[in-house]
């Protein structure tokens, strides 16, 4: 195949995206509870033990499995076992953790505490502005009602949200060194800069990704406080940012760095700068916001007659116990997909209902990514767009290549009830959905079994960071649930795609992703996904590095490789260039809201 032209590819990508259709599914939960009550439970049986003598499952695992087998009523797991978030919890959990701001405009302020006493005054000022889970859920509820009533996504209500998080050094300054040490997550105590090399970041001081060159979060410019402002309307958001900055100036804080983030425009809304739809796969959170049977934190779309309704919120969205994201709540068992594990104990009391926040400012070199894709595709006889989609595991529209190996299906990419519904190892069976007004059903081709990675390679980004039904180097599938993170990223910088003729000045502008994620353990979740899976050539499955975000750092070496499933033999492709470069960030903790004024600001 002749080598394709970069400008042409970029132009095609800009034009060929499917319309991002409004999702008219807001009110589906209204009928859900009733259906749940009427339907019959059909739980799958638990397979017998396989393993070495002496390594049988523990008694509690067997008991949990038996308990589940006895469950006879629909959604019994949800209604009997999953937590109901109490009012105190809903009002204290910061809203960007759960359910997430998901606003088109976001702004990030990185502060260093200059004068502790003044900073505490500022904290008491900002505490009432912090948006809670309750606030965001209420807004989302209203938004869904209006959207359903108006039949349009253009709903005349807007919100501006504020959240805040603190480094471990900030806790030491504002509370005490003992308090800072009582956080059990050692990576949080160390900070991002100290863990940079472990994450595979460049160790060469001359490299642009080296931590000493970071715009924030390097050894000499670590931030104490991260403020996140998010809004539907840019002006309202910027007004809030100005207000916070003005008060912070008076409040003994030094602004180290500020960054605006914005969803890409037009048809690329929801996509990242390489052109691929982002943020499709998020874990669902088990639990309800009230006693109402259908008031789930994460809306449920799978019909209760389908046994997978206790595993997935919507097709492909695995349900995870909330302690994986909120410290002090029940965590996911690493042994069993359905059951909870006890809550964590290694944090100070005042931090209960908080969450660890990782922020990585990642620069994206769009040109380098696509040049690699075009050159390599030509050398192995694949269309560039197809090969680039194999790197990601999805087509630019978000359609999974597992479901449509030959060509993009933009409507599939835009279909929230279908675009995440696929397994890797076995053929995917259709899910039974509850009635969704206006939704014709998932009529796209289902994914075939791909255990060996012939369609979606083992190196593909989506397969690396979310192995789904595949066994991993940690063994069972339930363990993978304990690795999931709640992603809250947003692009920054001017888009390249969708802007027409590309001129060199535009290439040179900085752009990338403000990657943010919340979790119950930085080491077991974000760091694990990065270091143990994305950066590894053999984990979770053998096949090379994650070519999108993976880094190689062993003994200072930076070269990566992927094993492309070509016929008749696989082709090993070396990767010399890097297109996702760390340029800043930090490890933070987003405390419960009442502790901002009463503990940190006291």
């Amino acid at each position: 195949m002749a080598k394709e032209n970069l400008d042409k590819i970029i132009a095609e990508l800009s034009k060929a995206e499917g319309e991002i259709k409004p999702q008219e599914r807001g009110a589906v939960n209204a009928t859900f509870g009733e259906r749940a009550k009427q339907a019959k439970k059909q739980r799958s049986k638990v397979a017998p033990h396989v393993g070495r003598p002496g390594a049988e499952p523990k008694k509690d695992q067997r008991a949990a499995a038996k308990k589940l087998e006895k469950v006879a009523t629909p959604f019994a797991l949800s209604l009997e076992f999953e937590p109901v978030f109490a009012e105190n919890e809903r009002k204290n959990i910061q809203g960007n953790i759960i359910p997430g701001f998901n606003k088109d405009y976001q702004y990030f302020l990185f502060y260093r505490i200059k004068t502790v006493k003044k900073a505490k005054v500022w904290l008491r000022w900002i505490a009432p502005l912090i948006s809670s889970m309750e606030d965001v859920l209420a807004f989302n509820r209203l938004y869904r009602i209006l959207r359903y009533r108006l039949g349009s996504k253009d709903v005349p209500i807007k919100a501006t949200w504020v959240n805040i998080a603190f480094s471990n050094a900030a806790v030491a300054k504002l509370v005490s060194k003992e308090a800072a040490l009582s956080f059990g997550d050692q990576s949080y105590r160390q900070g991002l800069a100290a863990r940079s090399e472990y994450l595979g970041d460049p160790t060469n001081p001359r490299s642009s990704g080296n931590k000493n060159k970071w715009v924030v979060g390097g050894p000499d410019n670590e931030a104490d406080i991260l403020v996140i402002v998010a809004g539907d309307a840019e002006k309202a958001m910027l007004d809030m940012v100005d207000q916070i900055k003005t008060e912070a100036d008076r409040g003994g804080l030094t602004l180290l760095f500020e960054q605006a983030g914005e969803t890409l425009p037009g048809r690329l809304r929801g996509h990242e700068h390489f052109g691929f739809k982002d943020g499709i796969s998020q874990p669902g959170v088990r639990g309800r916001a009230s006693d109402a049977a259908d008031d789930f934190i994460t809306p449920r779309y799978i019909d209760p007659t389908d046994p997978r309704s206790d595993l997935f919120a919507k097709p492909g969205q695995l349900l995870v116990w909330p302690g994986q994201f909120i410290v002090g709540m029940q965590r996911q068992s690493p042994e069993d997909l359905f059951t909870a594990a006890p809550e964590a104990t290694n944090f100070p009391n005042w931090a209960r209902l908080g969450s660890y926040l990782v922020c990585r400012r990642l620069r994206q070199d769009v040109k380098a990514f696509w040049e690699f894709a075009i050159d390599t595709a030509a050398s192995i006889g694949l269309p560039a767009r197809k090969f680039a989609s194999m790197l990601v595991g999805r087509w630019p529209s978000g359609a999974p290549i597992s479901r449509t190996p030959g060509a993009d299906i933009p409507d599939l990419g835009a279909d929230d009830l279908a675009n995440n519904h696929f397994l890797f190892d076995d053929a995917t069976r259709p899910s039974n959905l509850i009635p969704v007004p206006g939704y014709p059903g998932d009529t796209y081709p289902q994914a075939a079994a791909d255990l060996l990675g012939a369609v979606c390679p083992h190196f593909a980004h989506v397969r690396k960071v979310n192995p789904r039904d595949s066994a991993t180097d940690l063994g069972k599938i339930a363990d993978s649930l304990t690795r999931m993170i709640m992603r809250r990223g947003i692009p920054f910088g001017p888009p390249l795609l969708g802007v027409g003729l590309l001129r060199p000045p535009l290439w040179k502008k900085e752009r990338g992703l403000m990657f943010l994620c919340y979790q119950g353990s930085i080491e077991d979740q974000f760091e694990f996904l990065t270091r143990r899976w994305s950066n590894s050539t053999v984990q979770p499955n053998v096949g090379g590095h994650d070519p999108v975000i993976g880094q190689e750092g062993s003994q200072g070496n930076r070269d990566r490789f992927i094993v492309v499933p070509t016929s008749p033999k696989p082709t090993t492709v070396k990767i010399k260039d890097e297109w996702v470069i760390p340029t800043g960030g930090g490890y933070f903790f987003a405390p419960p809201i009442e502790s901002i004024a009463e503990v940190l600001g006291a």
Partner: protein, 333 residues
């Protein structure tokens, strides 16, 4: 594909001259393990009989199958059970991980065992092994003096035959040079870190009764807390569900596939050099691996930091070693 005429030694080790009858003895041992209809002593499911529609586990020495794919089944070398049992206290997990002696049950249950060589409280060297007792027992039965030679080479030149045998002159794998004073091969007892156990696990993973209703891996929920057992069990069951015939690829054995020292730093903060040494086996299929800082560097393993944290236990390294068996899938001609 023609039947395999002889099983190869692990990593094609040549502990005896080419042409030695030892290689036939080893092949017979592997054939004995691979050809079993069931795993003796196991309460687990039987393997599917050869030719069943849900797949089969076969011996390439006894059954002719056309291979279509090989798959490395990898898992973490550090015991997963210790990490999940000490989810909020990793220090305790790593402290527990270094337990390995003749009298205490080893906690090193992932077919990877290690021994830390210390001077005072300083770590000088960590030695990792995946060699199974079966290989050493077959060697001993064939030529005890060769085993003694290897012990002397690998552990201590002064070792005597009496020190590695029991009162009846039989090989004693729990001798002090394979437990408290050295390490040569796996000793894990419960669960077994043996080749028989590994092959038995593979055989038991394939289409046993009660597992035939399984449609995807979400429906397989009952496994031990190790990484190795569910990794092998899920993957082989999955291949067999596709109607494939599966076996362990040549050379049959357990190996260290990879080790990752990304983010490991010298006292000056720069990346470490390559301080790994494959003593038996080869890169990608190591059987005995040592980690020791060359004397010229003038610091010890204890001075190395992993992600800013000093190495205090062998388990800190084991967490970054990947163990593997290679599975092969095929179809009957």
């Amino acid at each position: 594909m023609p039947l395999l005429s002889r099983f190869e030694t692990p990593a094609a080790l040549r502990d005896f001259p080419l042409g030695s009858p030892f290689y036939d003895r080893w092949s017979e041992k592997v054939d004995e393990l691979m050809g079993r209809d069931r795993f003796p002593g196991s309460a687990g499911p039987e393997p599917a009989p050869i030719g069943t529609p849900v797949g089969e586990f076969f011996s390439p020495h006894r059954h002719d199958v056309n291979p279509i794919a090989e798959r490395s089944l990898v898992w973490m070398g550090f015991p997963r059970e210790l990490l999940i049992n000490n989810r909020d206290n990793r220090q305790l997990a790593f402290e527990s991980g270094d337990t390995r002696s003749a009298t205490e049950r080893t906690t090193q249950v992932e077919y990877l065992e290690w021994r830390v060589t210390r001077e005072g409280d300083r770590i000088k060297k960590v030695t990792f092994v995946t060699e199974t007792k079966e290989y050493w027992e077959v060697m001993f039965a064939f030529d005890p003096n060769r085993v003694l030679d290897l012990y002397r080479t690998l552990v201590d030149p002064s070792i005597t035959m009496a020190q590695i045998t029991d009162s009846a002159g039989r090989y004693n794998m729990l001798n002090e040079f394979n437990t408290s004073r050295g390490i040569v091969h796996l000793i894990g007892i419960s669960p077994d870190n043996t080749l028989a156990a590994a092959i038995g696990l593979a055989q038991g993973s394939v289409g046993g009764p009660g597992r035939r209703h399984v449609r995807d891996n979400y429906e397989i929920t009952s496994f031990p807390r190790t990484s190795a057992d569910p990794r092998v069990g899920i993957d082989l069951d999955d291949l067999a569900r596709k109607g494939l015939s599966v076996t362990a690829a040549e050379a049959v054995g357990l190996y260290m596939a990879a080790w990752d020292d990304t983010g490991w730093t010298k006292p000056d903060g720069s990346p470490v050099g390559n301080y790994w040494r494959v003593v038996r086996g080869h890169p990608g299929a190591a059987l005995r691996l040592e980690y020791e800082v060359p004397a010229a560097e003038r610091f010890d393993v204890s001075d190395i930091k992993i992600g800013g944290r000093p190495i205090r236990f062998g388990g800190h390294l084991a967490e970054h070693i990947t163990v593997t068996v290679v599975g092969r899938a095929g179809v009957r001609p």
